[in-house]
């Protein structure tokens, strides 16, 4: 297999065509920088509430940015109501974390809630409405027992025509995986490469939930959750919080003592939607919202696929890794799984993927994931990614998928 087939061109032949109007970026918008990051270890934090987790990430992000206050707080979260009995979450976090009285709001887009909050924060600063904002992603999933958490996650799907049929969120991904494996003649361990890569990288991430490597043999012996999908295809149920501080380029925030000499800039931010239910997609193996948001974000950044030095994709299940590589434009339909087998997505490969463990190994505290991706991308771009450092990383793409493809947020970060 040669170089990626996408060859850095926007809109490879198999992708949806994007309306030209959506590719424009208003020249009057401000450049948005990330001047501080914070994250908790991902895991089963039985000793911490959702507010304690949030506070930990908020505090470390503010400390990292060398600021004490922000104009507004955007909180990405999916399940605080269902699993902690707490709505009005953004006000609760502001109150608990010493940010009382500022504007605060929660954004919900299922598993993409974190990236949705990032985009809300981005638009607030880019528009000039606010000078400096805090974006937090937080999820507390271990307050409840497995069946209840599984049922709550199912709320990302169509309530009557998917969830009510007894389908778990994992089962929806298993339905896509079964068809993909059948249609493209993928061997039994064909998708294992995504999980093996994620765990290999997660070993070196002190914030990752799983810091151990796995082998193809481990994968093939793994317990089946929803056939053919097994435990080692799946991201874990876990708790975590991550935060970033955003400010406008040229803002006084940048000279307030921030140690970020050359801050990371958000070069592209785009969102798209698709049918809520998998069965309503014209092709259930195609992620149209990934195709659209990727092309829009790259166009804003003035970049092509070949310019992307690493990709944090939404590997909640290994099948999504394969389908994402295809929808982003790197691989033709039905070939995405091969890239994980051939070393292309390794740290040393052509396109490093899930460089800090991804959703599989770092963990997937659903509403927090999109912000973890941003934190990890900032570390890559600043050369602070430790043993998982991608050499000369200057441009990274982060992608967060809500539901089985219904809400997708793509951001391009650069330095």
């Amino acid at each position: 297999m040669g170089r990626f087939v996408g060859h850095g061109e926007l809109g490879a032949s198999w992708l949806l065509e994007v309306s030209k109007d959506t590719l424009k970026r208003d020249p009057g918008m401000k450049k948005v920088c990330i001047i501080g990051t914070g994250q908790t270890e991902v895991g089963e934090h039985w000793d911490k509430s959702i507010l304690h987790l949030a506070h930990e990430a908020v505090t470390s992000a503010l400390l990292d940015a060398h600021v004490e206050s922000v104009d507004a707080l955007f909180v990405g979260n999916m399940l605080s109501g269902a699993l902690s009995g707490q709505e009005n979450l953004a006000a609760a976090v502001a109150d608990f974390s010493g940010l009382r009285n500022i504007e605060a709001i929660k954004t919900e887009a299922a598993c993409a809630s974190g990236a949705a909050a990032l985009r809300m924060g981005y638009t607030a600063v880019a528009s000039g409405l606010h000078d400096r904002v805090l974006v937090l992603g937080v999820e507390k999933m271990t307050n409840t027992l497995g069946h209840d958490t599984t049922a709550a996650l199912g709320m990302a799907a169509d309530a009557v025509y998917e969830t009510f049929q007894g389908v778990s969120f994992t089962a929806l991904n298993a339905l896509m995986m079964q068809r993909y494996v059948w249609q493209y003649d993928v061997p039994d361990t064909g998708l294992a490469g995504f999980s093996i890569n994620a765990h290999r990288n997660g070993c070196h991430n002190p914030h990752a939930m799983f810091r151990h490597a796995i082998t193809e043999e481990d994968y093939s012996r793994s317990r089946v959750i929803s056939s053919p999908l097994c435990v080692l295809d799946s991201s874990p149920i876990c708790d975590g919080a991550a935060a970033v501080v955003l400010c406008a380029a040229g803002s006084s925030s940048l000279s307030d003592g921030s140690r970020y000499v050359a801050p990371v800039t958000i070069l592209g931010s785009a969102a798209a939607t698709d049918t809520l239910a998998v069965h309503d997609r014209s092709d259930p193996l195609r992620l149209a919202a990934v195709e659209l948001s990727t092309q829009q974000a790259l166009a804003q950044a003035g970049a092509g696929l070949d310019n992307v030095d690493f990709l944090e994709l939404h590997d909640a299940f290994s099948i999504l890794g394969a389908m994402s590589l295809e929808a982003v434009g790197y691989a033709e339909p039905g070939t995405g799984w091969r890239y994980a087998m051939d070393g292309y997505i390794d740290i040393e490969g052509d396109l490093p993927v899930s460089t800090q463990g991804g959703l599989k190994s770092r963990g997937h505290p659903v509403g927090a994931t999109g912000v973890y991706q941003a934190v990890e991308a900032v570390k890559q771009l600043q050369g602070l990614a430790g043993p998982n450092q991608v050499p000369n990383a200057a441009l990274g793409m982060i992608q967060n998928i809500g539901g089985s493809g219904a809400s997708v947020y793509t951001h391009i970060l650069g330095i």
Binding site: T163, Q165, S226
Partner: protein
Amino acid sequence: MFVPSSWRTRHQRYSLIGEVCPACDKHIFPPRDVCPHCDQPAGPAHKFNGTGMVFSYTTLFQPPAGFESQAPYVVALVQLDEGPMLTAQLTDVEAEEVEIGMKVEMVPRKLMEDGPQGQVHYCYKFRPLWAKAAQAGASV
């Protein structure tokens, strides 16, 4: 499922009532206000004939709350003969007998109960066409 929601959706869940779009003639299931194919107002009711094909399937070993006692059970993406696809449980078939492309037909079945005092929910499930034939043979 909430009782009013269950009542509102009874026709589609018990009898596979969908729609035909007057603008583009596509069949739509479940019924909705806007045709997903041409974005025009969705059309008059249409009763689907209930036969279709398994597009994909999975056996759940870790079910969501409310379905614990039924596991393992098989759920499929079923492509109806008239076009639309839906998600439904398969019945009258062993998990290892299911395969992609298998012809199936709709049967109304009990889906779940809201506890011993709660509502019993019925819904469409699908069974292999050969299960119907076997049943007919047994009753002769």
